[in-house]
Amino acid sequence: MSDNLLELDHVTMKFGGVTALDDVTFAIRRGEILGLIGPNGAGKTTCFNVVTGVYAATSGGVHFDGTSLAGLKRFQITKRGIARTFQNIRLFPDMTAVENVMVGADANHRTSVGGALLGLPRHHREEAEGRNTAMELLTFMGIADRAGDAARNLPYGYQRRLEIARALATKPQLLCLDEPAAGFTPAEKVELMDLIRKIRAQGYTVLLIEHDMSLVMGVTDRIVVLDFGKVIATGTPSEVQDNPAVVAAYLGVPDDDA
């Protein structure tokens, strides 16, 4: 078995005439925190979308745990072990926090209409397991006090954490976080860094898109830098920091989002 959990192999993604990803190749090793950075419009989220099956790559392939993800539906990819959060929060607003997480936990369950109607033992077992998983995750994320509230009524910070909890509930091997710190205060960002480290300590591999350089530098093991859909640098935070191409890219395109 290779050391790499996820490999992007010469992935190109075109929308009409626009090339969003151009021959992107990089890999994520098991157990690491990989940062994916780049200026606005560099193709970071597109990259996420290709990995999670939202888009099918125009050419090139994505390999997860040694097998190709080509042709798999989105939910199948999730069940293989890739979970994600969204840049603009996409919770299920009218469901409670704990239900949101239980939807994620259901990815590992098999009860369907028949089992639920008949109240089969597996249904009860899975319900109990789902509740426990959900509550443990909410506790872990520090938001269990609002478990019974509708997601739409939660404060912003809680919503961001809830998304992570929901993604973790699918029991992924790879957790993809799309700008989890967007809109956070510096103090909250520090908390989030701790949280991400704790998640990794539990054995997860993390792919992190982030604008905030300090966060990325502080928490990641390695960084991939995208610009105009191309990988312009790969390496440890310090290596990347000194890379002139990266500096140029960031200086050239003012970062108006952070």
Partner: protein, 367 residues
Amino acid sequence: MSLSESLRSVTSGSYSVSRLGEALAKQSRSVRWSFGAICILALYLLPWWPSVPVLGWIVETPGTSFPSVLTDQVVIFVLVALGLNVVVGLAGLLDLGYVGFYAVGAYTVAILSSQHANLPWLLCMPIAVLVSMIAGVILGTPTLRLRGDYLAIVTLGFGEIIRITANNVEWLGDSRGISNIATPPSIGPLKFTVLDAKPYYFLGFTTILIVIFLLRRLENSRVGRSWNAIREDEDAAELMGVDTFKFKLWAFAIGAAIGGLAGSLYAGKVQFINPNNFPLQLSILFLAAVVLGGAGNMWGAVVGGALVAWMPERFRGFADKRVFVFGVALVLVMVFRPQGLIPRKIRKERWLESWKPSTEADLGGKE
């Protein structure tokens, strides 16, 4: 409290219902159960309500027979609203052709018990439910990939196709319809005769209770959660591992099955159906019942279905103006209570209060 605030609280006043619910929730299990049992018993006695003072004056339907209205309209509408609520309220799929499934159920019973065979109703009914379910799957498989309003117009077309086909195909009785449909078999003292609607009501009400019981199980399971997730955000649901197509198809099939069940009850009661029983407008009325009651809330669907069926009969005194009044009422209710009369509520997770962490936070992560 200012005047306008109080006005607002009156229109948004789910207070009476929700307060009752809250008060009940605080009671012990035995109190809740006995309250439920009394309600169910009272509802079983519904055909006799018009002879109760005050209450009778409220519910009676002057100019038409109350027990027959209950069986021919109210029971059918409540069942249909429950089924459509699964599709529209839970899974968030806009279905404007639900009458098609109702028709499939009724026609299956009619064909098997009168037109082309003489099977007993008790045998026809499950077949009708199954056939409706299959119709749901057949319609759903190609169309559930469509989004939102495309689905609405396609289902509307499906309802019309069913009606027009029934109207023009001799084998289905064409415009003459099918008479002499079998009635349910007599059970002990319950005799299903032409002139007594009450046994049909007992049968219908029992069916409703069973359907509610089963739907509650679904709602409180992985299936119900998946439907809710799909309604809230289909993309996010799929990315969280929900097999959206499969669950949408299930919602469609279950909705269709309940519609077919309602159709088979109707056919067994009236013993005659023709295509005029299944106009496009009925689909719209069904949808109005669900949304008026409160889409996504089973109790809302029950209340909406019962109201939409009963109100026009209650206000027969308005004669030809009642349809106009109904239209105005729909607009007003939507303007001032857009979530319906009994809005969908955030589910209270009763187990949450007693939940204790079983072990130290263990995320089940990979080693």
